[in-house]
């Protein structure tokens, strides 16, 4: 991996060498649930619905903004087999947020489970339950709703201080200051400045300014949002749901229904993909209402159209970046101003917006002044929420466009411009301390950063030659290269917390209980790997059970790239503490000091070799044979990070652009990534590949389109195509050697970083090909063509 251009000191960390000795961690082990899922065994929420459950359907708003004047359920209720029709009058009027976030949530409480107002097409109006799905659907169609239509605000550029106020209602509030000003259509706002940006820009001999507009994007997890509920033997409400955050779901439902949390249990079975889309409550309240009303189990699986129209999207953002630099390319100032569209409700409004700065600006940490600010505004479109990349992709798209523009202006290699200015191991950025997610940040020294290595290897893989970034392959058809770099985080420091409990079982195996939520990423597998490594056993000796608020210890859930780092650290701590307890128990049995016990190959031995006992035999002794000394040996530990070590990625793309048709194809996408120690390299790589493809989709064609009245036009997989197997050329992902001292066995995160670079790298490649900077995403052939034409007329 060494390249002569790069005099990189060898990783001096002996720990990195030690990773080569791992037995379970850093191995490509198959996922624990892999075969079962391929065979289609019942595993997801909709496979597990009790046979006598009622089917739930939701009546949704046909208007972008309206007041409900009346709801008449008579005809629906007259149908035999219809159990109930519930409306906003059937629940307490409690403002909540649907964002699955810590407590107190940084999202405004601006939403009611059901409300008298509807604020986008698809907003929930009434809940209908019936014996069959067909009947529920028919009944939903018979509910008569009278609306007073209101004029909507659809364009986020005109939302701020618009005379139409989307949230005029009383009672809604922020949990702590987030800049919430509903009278101005502002869900959240933020501003920070380090140094004096205007002064530094004025003093900079070279300046560039770039504005990009990134669109809303749909998650399109293949499993639609699904939940069912029932009352258990003890009269408690049980909800089985495809959620990324069981505990937040329990807490928010308790608030919405004014129910003690002890009355609620949330269970997450397998999830068919999340990407942030299931970090919210979308279906749970409605099945719960029906179960509480009727006493019957109730189930709701959204149709794909409902997932499109009425769950969440990515925040649309306008990102303006100004850079000031010296003629040699040394950056002096960065100014990033953002306008973000949160849609009808403010879920994740502040945090996605802040991440646009907090997870991008530290990349270029040598500036004298940096500023970030702007607003998150309401519109009458479907809400935006959490989505992999979570603001970082939007901010980075602006920042990396500006960096390339600066390179063009200075006629220097964009790679060298970045190397000159970027963050390195052992350094820090003031931004870490100042900007967190919704709150202040946490100061952090970067202990692992192999961006130099990522860049060097990426250049090799793509064949980067600054003097040859574009060539013509056929008349009007150009091949060109572009690049971008990225960082993310690993959990939210001092806010995210995960726990694990490990218990020795007879037979010498271990039960691992984690609150962490495997949404298909393989976290059950990698957490078992971490436990097995530390306990010196095989993967098979660890049985994992996850995400059940009754049966597993607390975890905030799977988001913010937290699971490996936060939940993984909890597992490692629990395994360590369990190992100590095991050794102490055996030492007592042998009548020696714990330090005189050697534990290897699942066997305990005295240091002098006179006594030995297998883990298996010990498990029977402690549970069946040892009389009054018998005990369960278990350990529970928690972890909350005091930092959020970023993974890093260097991306290089080769595109082909047909200047006659405007069609852009990705020929080869190279991503070289520093995730620290990959606990399971294959799973990490595949996850990054998946992120890249979502990012490519965002760059080239995924788009949430509306009619003028605010109806979503792209409401199925035909009108909103996601990338297929034939849509991209090659994707190459490589992981560089790296070790994060604060992470479990040196690991950082891998969940989000993959998605961040494609919009920027592809735009930079198109710029290199054509000289035209595209700023309106996605880059459909029509847009590309129009931009090329506009540039031509400007020049002539």
């Amino acid at each position: 991996m060494q390249n002569n251009d790069y005099p990189i000191p060898l990783p001096n960390d002996a720990k990195l060498e030690a990773t080569k000795q791992f037995n379970v961690v850093a191995h490509d082990l198959p996922k624990v649930d892999g075969e079962g899922l391929v065979l289609g065994r019942p595993a997801y929420t909709d496979d597990l619905v009790p046979p006598n459950a009622l089917y739930v359907k939701l009546v949704r708003s046909p208007h972008a903004f309206a007041r409900i004047l009346s709801i008449d359920p008579t005809d629906a209720l007259a149908l035999p087999g219809v159990a109930c029709v519930l409306t906003w009058k059937d629940i307490p009027r409690i403002p909540i947020t649907r964002a699955g976030q810590g407590n107190p949530e940084p999202s405004p409480h601006d939403r009611f489970i059901l409300d008298e107002y509807v604020r986008y097409v698809g907003d929930e109006v009434a809940v209908v339950a019936a014996e069959t799905e067909a009947l529920a659907e028919k009944a939903a169609g018979l509910v008569k709703v009278e609306y007073q239509k209101l004029k909507p605000v659809l364009d986020f550029e005109h939302a701020l201080d618009n005379p139409i106020v989307i949230h005029p209602e009383p009672g809604i509030h922020e949990m702590f200051p987030i800049g919430f000003e509903p009278k101005r259509n502002i869900a959240a706002a933020y501003h920070m400045e380090i140094g004096d940006v205007e002064q530094e820009l004025a003093a900079s001999p070279v300046k560039v300014e770039t504005t990009v507009h990134t669109q809303a994007q749909q998650h399109v997890a293949l499993e639609p949002h699904t939940a069912f509920s029932y009352i258990d033997l003890q009269g408690r409400l049980v909800i089985v749901t495809s959620t990324q955050n069981p505990w937040h779901t329990r807490r928010l439902l308790g608030l919405a229904f004014q129910m003690p949390l002890r009355q609620i249990r949330i269970v997450k079975p397998r999830i068919g993909g999340g990407f942030g889309g299931k970090q919210h409550i979308h279906v749970e309240p409605y099945v719960a209402m029906v179960t509480m009303k009727t006493g019957r189990p109730a189930s709701l699986a959204l149709t794909r159209r409902e997932v499109f129209e009425a769950t969440f999207t990515r925040h649309e953002m306008r990102v303006k970046v100004r850079l000031g630099a010296n003629p040699d390319g040394k950056l002096r100032a960065i100014d990033m101003q953002v306008l973000s569209n949160t849609g009808a409700y403010g879920e994740h409004a502040l945090t996605t917006f802040m991440v646009a700065g907090s997870k991008t600006l530290p990349l270029y940490n040598k500036v004298s002044a940096v500023r970030f600010g702007g607003h998150v505004v309401y519109t009458n479109k479907v809400s935006a929420g959490a989505f992999r990349g979570y603001g970082a992709i939007q901010g980075l798209t602006g920042l990396e466009a500006a960096m390339d523009e600066l390179a063009h202006k200075l006629s220097i290699d964009p790679v060298e411009l970045r190397r000159k200015n970027m963050l390195h191991e052992g350094e820090t950025s003031e931004v870490f301390r100042i900007m967190g997610e919704g709150t202040e940040g946490v100061a952090m020294n970067i202990e692992s950063c192999k961006l130099e290595e990522c860049i060097a290897r990426g250049k090799e893989l793509i064949g980067w030659d600054f003097t040859q970034l574009v060539h013509e392959v056929a008349p009007g058809v150009l091949r060109a290269k572009g690049m971008a770099i990225a960082m993310q985080g690993s959990g939210i420091p001092l806010i995210d917390m995960g726990s694990a409990r490990i218990e020795l079982q007879d037979g010498g195996f271990f039960k691992l209980h984690v609150g962490a939520t495997d949404l298909g990423t393989g976290s059950d597998t990698i957490l078992a790997q971490i436990a097995a490594e530390e306990l010196g056993v095989d993967m098979e000796d660890i049985v994992v059970h996850s995400s059940d608020t009754d049966h597993t210890p607390f975890d905030v859930g799977a988001y913010a790239s937290s699971t490996t780092y936060v939940s993984g650290s909890a597992v490692l701590k629990a395994a360590r503490s369990l190992k100590t307890k095991l050794i102490e128990a055996v030492a007592e049995k042998f009548g020696v000091a714990p330090k005189d016990i050697v534990y290897t190959q699942k066997t305990f031995m005295t240091a002098d070799g006179t006594k030995s006992l297998s883990l298996n035999d010990f498990s029977y002794d402690t549970l069946y044979h040892d009389g009054e000394k018998m005990k369960t040996i278990e350990a529970t530990e928690s972890f909350s990070g005091s930092k959020s070590p970023p993974p890093y990625l260097a991306a290089f793309v080769e595109i082909e652009i047909d200047t006659e048709t405007g069609k852009v194809n990705v020929v080869h996408y190279v991503a070289v990534v520093d995730v620290g120690t990959p606990i399971n390299p294959n799973l990490a790589k595949v996850q990054i590949e998946g992120g890249l493809l979502q990012g490519i989709g965002l760059a080239l064609y995924e788009d949430v389109r509306y009619s003028e009245a605010g109806h979503m036009l792209s409401h199925n997989m035909m009108t909103y195509p996601i990338p297929s197997r034939e849509d991209v050329g090659r994707i190459t992902v490589e992981l560089v050697d790296s070790y994060e001292p604060s992470g479990p066995f040196g690991a950082k995160s891998a969940g989000e970083i993959g998605i961040d670079t494609p919009p920027a790298a592809i735009a930079n490649a198109i710029r290199n090909a054509t000289g035209v900077r595209l700023t309106e995403y996605p880059f459909t052939p029509e847009r590309v063509l129009a931009a090329l034409k506009a540039a031509k007329t400007q020049h002539t």
């Binding site: 490509d28 198959p30 996922k31 649930d33 892999g34 075969e35 899922l37 391929v38 065979l39 289609g40 065994r41 019942p42 595993a43 997801y44 909709d46 496979d47 067909a134 998650h219 997890a221 293949l222 499993e223 639609p224 397998r270 999830i271 068919g272 993909g273 999340g274 990407f275 699986a301 149709t303 794909r304 159209r305 298909g520 990423t521 393989g522 399971n680 390299p681 294959n682 799973l683 790589k685 595949v686 996850q687 990054i688 590949e689 998946g690 992120g691 493809l693 979502q694 199925n716 997989m717 035909m718 195509p721 996601i722 297929s724 197997r725 034939e726 991209v728 090659r730 994707i731 992902v733």
Partner: protein, 153 residues
């Protein structure tokens, strides 16, 4: 009304409503391996074999299946396990929601081609089986290795 068909080699008579699609009927009969990812015939999660040919059961009227032989991934469990071993070895299975339909299409492809298809043919044959998690690269690696191993057998 009832329809009579063979599911994974077993003769069954199951209820279906007028206009109902095969996915619903199969799931109601307990065949949860048939997944529903979209409602528009775009994702491939609902793939089953009708008389040996891959079909999107969400766009296939249940009544059309009268007298037909339906195979789900459970009907080819032994072969599916072999493929699953290659898929999981590559780490190319993430949420797994696409997997039963996708694996079934792979097995159908293997039957249809007399020799090992090349990458472009594989991508084309499986283009209707979408996966939002994996980025496809790992799946392609797994398919190639599986086909080569099968060919060598």
């Amino acid at each position: 009304m009832n329809i009579t068909l063979r599911i994974n080699g077993k003769q069954e008579s199951i209820e279906c409503l007028p206009g109902e699609m095969l996915t619903e009927v199969l799931r109601r009969a307990g065949h949860f391996e048939v997944k529903k990812g979209c409602d528009t015939g775009n994702c491939g999660a609902c793939t089953v074999l009708v008389d040996g040919k891959p079909v999107l059961s969400c766009s296939y009227l249940a009544v059309r299946a009268e007298g037909k032989e339906i195979t789900t991934i459970q009907g080819l469990a032994d072969e599916a396990k072999k493929f699953a071993a290659f898929l999981t070895a590559e780490g190319a299975d993430q949420c797994g929601f696409c997997a039963p339909g996708f694996a079934l299409t792979v097995l159908a492809m293997k039957e249809e081609f007399s020799s090992i298809p090349d990458e472009a043919q594989i991508r084309h044959y499986l283009a209707g089986n979408l996966c939002r998690c994996s980025g496809y690269e790992g799946q392609i690696r797994a398919i190639k290795k599986y086909l080569e191993a099968q060919h060598a057998e």
